[in-house]
């Protein structure tokens, strides 16, 4: 066998990235002289070796000879101290390897069984201690997905690195087992908590997250049938009944006053009430029922939106977790109706301070250390970027929020907007229904052990020969091929009747979900294409391998569908048939391994009744007097990580592909990050899609109700500032809570949900889609083995989407022309509880900004009118950091100074940094002063003029004077080196 393994090494003769790469590693604290990189292709064939001439032919196709060289079967020699080779563990998706395999396959069509494994070989020049070397390795590789091999220069010698082939070896016997549930409650709950015991290895397979009540219900169900469940059935029920899929906390009755639960009472009811009240002006088309929510774009098109989180996977493997998060939510677009085209990606990251290095471990005795916030930030930034960039989806809209309570569990939000014609040839594309007799087809990637029990993690289970199960690496190109053939070809040919995405729970959830449309299904697991043989039936059924869609295809269309996808090199397989039997029946090796009534599968979980408790926490008010030098305070505020520029992310995310860029992520000559963006999604149309968001985790512990209201107001205000009217705006909610079995946390949740209902109904902005993630807690140990629990602050992301009627009338945030008037729209109160300024002072406070929806709605209408009448030169919502920060941002963005005079009864620092809601900074041409003031009336207060190159603020006898260039430097300093 070994003789059939070749190794081709590729390198740049003069690597253009070497300096950046070296500098980066040095900036992380490794005193190296140089870090060289070699790409390695390990090639195996099933039948014969390649000749030297053939290897040359292969090598020349893997390089550009102008700048690169290759070396087949002979290692590159160089001066270095250590060689570190990083490859993938067996079974982990290796995109580079599979691309190289296609190239070799095209060139040598006759050679069978070619496999290519890619790896990267680093030559480290510089003396590193053993400890530092180990740390460097852990920076270059993630033990969850990577295999690593290190040699000294001496060990490397002339023979180089070893030829390792990460083939998957499986020992399990692939059969379905029966699980005896006739156990005492202690043993029963162990099955729920730790998983089914494997009959051969006696290891537990990982948590089912079924509680005792649910396990009793399952035992009763099968008791009536006179048998025990198979492992396939039990795993399937665990997936379908999981918090992730069924949202039990939002669905359960709560206390005495919410018999229908939070979702029905506060979210769905809000949307229903708003839609009814708006009547013919209702903008919603599909809410909550499909993979995304949809609103009307114009007479011909609709737009969809969906925001997901991918928190646990991103904690373990930030790159892979974030990548699968974004490509996963892309599939919620492709899986909307009969398939919408993804046209905008959005992101949001809650992480720890990247300059901190918390020492926490998942295991006892300093085992399994958590990744540093810097690594998590770098990884998730890169992951979402690769996902969007490779898929040709612009990513203009996003944000980052830092707080130390995110160190154990980062929150990674990923969302996608889709565009789709409302009808084609009389067929409504936003409706779908599988019919009995339709074939169940899975298209896209193959199934492996990736993502089984996705959220669970067990380092003991990883041995060098076992595939990775906890995390997946996405393959955007496989998905791009799938997406293209679905939304650009098959959909409009009418080749299928229904489609959905494979996300959590894999085909067990997607097929069972679609089976509701016709009331039954039958699947043969033997037909499911696998990445490697030897998978157990339960694994095939629940695997979360990426890039797969499930379709319902009428038998008469199957040949045309298969022919089309075959020509696009997208694998598709018939795995069964939809029926009207009322059952979900699954076969494997000729046996029935699952036979459950759909009614039980979907609705058999016992209803819960949750009780909540709410205690208001009172925090000490920060004790300080107004700083003497407010200019210095302003500069310090601009440098706060939650306020300063994170432009390094915006520019590495392609935000111009698809040609719809109107108002992008950074604006103005001074390139300031905007809170909202505007994108055209239909060529030739004057309309555009505006996106914004609001989230205030720092308000949650003080007042969750006002926190929710602030999120909604801010999300809406971002779009109002672009010129989108209130009635054109819809909302999405993402609750990321912690410790959701704690009545106090549930009490906060209930108040936040009530805040959502009251605020959304007041604004008449419907929720169209939402998602929740209820257990964002880290439980582990510190270096002294003391148990540590770190819970995220209750985090509610409100995303907004709105259709702008005429993008040529939209407004950016930058001050534009010398002499323009500067207004603040809205009133400033002493509302600094949970503000960034109090955080800067080291406090929390208690007065969270309050919202009077009726008051601000009238104001927003006036702002909309003023923008529509072209009276506004710039508009920027006042959010985190308050007026002082916003005025600075507007000035920096325009590279223009301002001279402002402030009258206030508040302490000036409070006035400048209060986070009162409902406010904008607006600049207006002097020619429009009268008209603007007429429209805005009392809502606008003239502060001064755009002038010179300094920000000058006078208030009473206090004067602040700072050059705009100095503001800009402060605003851009913290992430300058990223």
């Amino acid at each position: 066998m070994a003789s059939c393994v070749h190794r081709i090494e590729v390198r740049y003769r003069n690597d253009p990235r070497k300096k950046t790469r070296t500098d980066r590693v040095r900036s992380l604290g490794f005193p190296i002289d140089e870090l060289q990189l070699i790409d390695v292709y390990t090639i195996t064939t099933g039948t014969r070796i390649f000749s030297a001439a053939e290897l040359d032919q292969i090598g020349s196709q893997l390089v550009n000879p102008v700048v690169q060289e290759y070396s087949p079967d002979v290692p590159f020699l160089a001066d270095f101290d250590h060689a570190i080779e990083v490859g993938f563990l067996p079974g982990v998706t290796d995109n580079v390897g599979s691309t190289a395999r296609q190239t070799i396959g095209d060139f040598f069509p006759g050679v069978e069984g070619v496999a290519v494994y890619s790896s990267q070989l680093f030559f480290v020049c510089g003396k590193l201690s053993r400890e530092l070397l180990r740390e460097l390795v852990s920076n270059l590789a993630n033990p969850l997905v990577n295999r690593v091999h290190v040699k000294t220069r001496l060990e490397y010698g002339t023979s180089g690195m070893d030829r390792e082939v990460p083939r998957v070896r499986l020992h399990e016997l692939p059969t379905a087992g029966v699980v005896d549930l006739n156990l005492d409650d202690r043993e029963l709950s162990r099955i729920g908590k730790e998983g089914i015991e494997d009959q051969t290895t006696h290891q537990r397979r990982g948590p089912l997250a079924l509680d005792l009540g649910q396990l009793h219900a399952i035992r009763n169900y099968f008791g009536k049938k006179g048998r025990n469940p198979t492992d396939v059935e039990l795993e399937s029920l665990a997936q379908t009944w999981s918090e992730h899929c069924k949202h039990t906390i939002f669905a359960s009755a709560m206390d005495d006053d919410l018999p229908d639960g939070l979702y029905k009472t506060y979210i769905q009811a809000a949307t229903n009430a708003i839609r009814k009240e708006k009547g013919e002006k209702d903008i919603c088309l599909t809410v909550f029922t499909d993979n995304s929510g949809a609103i009307i774009f114009d007479d011909h098109y609709l737009v969809t939106h969906k925001v997901e989180t991918h928190n646990s996977p991103s904690a373990l493997d930030p790159f892979g977790g974030a990548l699968t998060g974004i490509v996963g939510v892309n599939r919620d677009t492709i899986g909307f109706g009969l398939g919408a085209k993804p046209c905008i990606n959005v992101y949001g990251y809650c992480v720890g301070d990247p300059e901190s290095d918390p020492v926490l471990f998942r295991g006892r005795h300093k085992t399994n250390q958590i990744l540093s916030p810097r690594r998590i930030l770098d990884g998730v930034v890169h992951g979402v970027g690769v996902g969007g960039n490779c898929s040709g989806i612009p990513t203009p809209q996003g944000w980052v929020y830092f707080n130390d309570r995110y160190v154990g569990k980062p929150l990674v939000f990923a969302g996608t907007v889709g565009i789709m014609p409302r009808e084609i040839a009389g067929r409504k594309l936003y409706e779908k229904k599988a019919e009995p007799g339709d074939l169940i087809v899975v298209a896209g990637g193959r199934v492996g052990k990736d993502g089984i029990h996705g959220a669970t993690f067990s380092s003991e289970a990883l041995d060098p020969g076992s595939p990775v199960t906890a995390v997946q690496i996405g393959d955007p190109i496989t998905q791009k091929k799938l997406s293209d053939v679905i939304v650009k070809e098959a959909r409009d040919l009418g080749l299928y009747r229904s489609i959905t995405d494979n996300g959590a729970g894999g085909i067990s959830c997607s097929v069972a979900e679609m089976a509701k449309e016709c009331n039954g299904c039958r699947v043969t697991l033997d037909l499911v294409p696998l990445k490697y043989p030897g998978m157990a039936p339960w694994e095939i059924w629940i695997s979360e391998s990426q890039e797969r869609m499930t379709l319902a295809i009428p038998p008469e269309k199957i040949d045309a569908f298969m022919d089309l996808v075959g020509r696009r090199e997208v694998e598709a397989t018939v795995i069964g048939e939809f029926s009207d039997s009322g059952r979900c029946i699954v076969g494997f090796h000729g046996d029935v391994v699952m036979d459950i009534e759909l009614a039980f599968l979907h609705d058999g979980a016992p209803k819960k009744h949750l009780t909540t408790r709410y205690t208001k926490t009172v925090y000490p008010e920060p004790v300080s007097s107004c700083p003497d030098c407010l200019g210095a305070t302003l500069l310090a505020m601009l440098k706060r990580k939650n306020i300063c520029s994170k432009e390094f992310i915006s520019v590495q995310y392609d935000h111009t592909v698809q040609g719809g860029h109107v108002l992008g992520p950074v604006q103005g000559r001074g390139r300031v990050q905007a809170m909202a963006t505007l994108t055209k999604v239909v060529p030739g149309s004057d309309k555009g899609v505006g996106l914004s968001q609001g989230m205030f985790p720092s308000y949650s512990e003080i007042d969750p109700y006002r926190m929710a209201a602030a999120g909604i107001d801010t999300a809406i205000r971002g779009l109002i500032a672009l010129g989108i009217p209130l009635e054109a705006i819809a909302l999405l909610d993402n609750f990321c809570w912690c410790s959701s079995d704690d009545p106090d946390r549930l009490g906060q949740l209930k108040r936040a949900a009530k805040g959502c209902y009251d605020t959304a109904t007041a604004f008449k902005t419907p929720f169209i889609s939402g998602k929740d993630s209820m257990y964002n807690d880290f439980s582990g140990y510190d270096a002294d083995n003391h148990p540590v629990k770190v819970s995220v602050p209750p985090t509610l992301l409100i995303s907004s989407i709105g259709v702008h009627d005429d993008v040529t009338k939209s407004v950016s945030i930058d001050a534009k022309i010398e002499g323009d008037l500067v207004y603040v729209v809205g009133t400033t109160q002493e509302e600094l509880g949970g503000s960034e300024y109090f955080a800067y002072l080291g406090g929390v406070g208690n007065v969270v900004p309050d919202l009077d929806p009726a008051l601000v709605m009238a104001r927003y209408q006036r702002v909309t009118d003023a923008i529509r009448r072209d009276l506004v030169a710039s508009a920027c919502p006042v959010t985190i950091g308050g007026l002082g920060v916003t005025l600075s941002r507007v000035a920096i963005a325009g590279h223009l100074g301002m001279a402002l005079l402030i009258h206030t009864r508040l302490r000036l620092d409070y006035f400048l940094f209060s986070e009162s809601l409902g406010r904008f900074v607006v600049t207006v041409s002097p020619d429009n002063q009268e008209a603007f003031e007429q429209v805005l009336d009392d809502d606008a207060v003239l502060l001064g003029r755009v002038t010179g190159n300094q920000l000058r603020i006078s208030a009473g006898d206090i004067r602040i004077e700072i050059p705009v260039s100095e503001l800009e430097n402060a605003y851009k300093a913290p992430f300058k080196e990223y």
Binding site: R21, D475, V651, T656, K680, V807
Partner: protein
């Protein structure tokens, strides 16, 4: 600071944008395996007056579509094969290993080839540019950006040669969005490109003075600020930035400021951007 823009009037009913009369010849826009800018490229050509078909490369390999029916071959932007084995390299291998004879025949005729971004990377790996002496060897490379990450921002380009592609263009102002756009070649090749006026576009400052390799005006570190070159016979253009992504005035990075300036100067606000001139030049070639 100001980028001149050609004002255009609205026309054609509901359609906001003027569409010139279509030339009889059509373009083939290549798609598949991660190419992703085919639709906006089609739109730009259509507005300039040239119809096109988006064709999956496998349909050319299978013979379902004949390259010979077309006069313009476009490799649009994208991330073919996820940039694996080098940007554009795997797609170039796919072309070379499957439809090379068709491409050679196409090049021999009176036809044009355009590669944008990933398309330029594909052209470079196929040797369609610079193609000195009509030989399709790889003489240039688009290597990773000096900063090591993908860079998406608007850049200003200046024509560096007078040819069918650059006719009437004073500047372009459009986005780059690539991780591997750093133009590299031997000193010999570089001087030949200059001498033979094959450097089509260079990165420059707002005032059209050379970027001199300085970031961010030169966004990737390209030798000689090169953003695009033609083949020796002038019929093939490869360019890294994306004029098709900023066809309209409102696509331009600085349009809100310029709109305000134009309003105050009582200058009509244009609809189309100057970047369209590149596509008009292509359509005009076939008139």
């Amino acid at each position: 600071m100001t980028t001149p823009v050609v004002p255009q009037k609205k026309s054609r009913g509901n359609d906001t944008f003027p569409v010139s009369d279509l030339v009889p010849d059509k373009a083939l826009i290549m798609s598949g395996f991660g190419i992703n800018s085919e639709m906006e490229t089609q739109e730009a050509l259509l507005r300039a007056g040239m119809g096109s078909d988006i064709v999956h490369i496998n349909d050319l390999i299978d013979g379902r579509t004949e390259l010979g029916q077309y006069r313009l071959l476009v490799f649009p932007g994208g991330f073919s094969y996820g940039d694996d084995t080098g940007a554009g390299n795997a797609f170039a291998n796919r072309v070379r290993n499957n439809i090379w004879e068709d491409v050679e025949e196409f090049l021999a005729g009176d036809n044009l080839v355009l590669g944008i971004c990933n398309g330029f990377q594909i052209l470079a790996n196929l040797g369609l540019v610079p193609a000195f002496g009509g030989r399709f060897t790889r003489d240039i490379a688009l290597v990773p950006n000096r900063k090591g990450v993908l860079e998406c921002r608007f850049v200003t380009l200046k024509p560096a040669a007078d040819n069918l592609w650059t006719k009437g263009i004073e500047r372009l102002f459009c986005p780059v969005a690539h991780g591997e756009g750093n133009f590299s070649c031997s000193p010999d090749t570089f001087s030949r490109l200059g001498e033979q006026e094959m450097i089509a576009f260079t990165y420059c400052r707002d005032d059209l003075s050379p970027a001199n390799g300085e970031y961010p005006c030169n966004p990737n570190g390209s030798t000689g600020d090169i953003a695009g070159i033609t083949s020796e016979d002038g019929k093939v253009l490869g360019i890294m930035p994306h004029p098709e992504r900023a066809m309209e005035f409102v696509n331009l990075y600085d349009w809100p400021l310029r709109k305000e300036q134009m309003k105050r100067n009582k200058v009509p606000i244009p609809i189309e951007s100057l970047n369209m001139q590149l596509f008009r030049n292509i359509a005009d070639y076939f008139r």
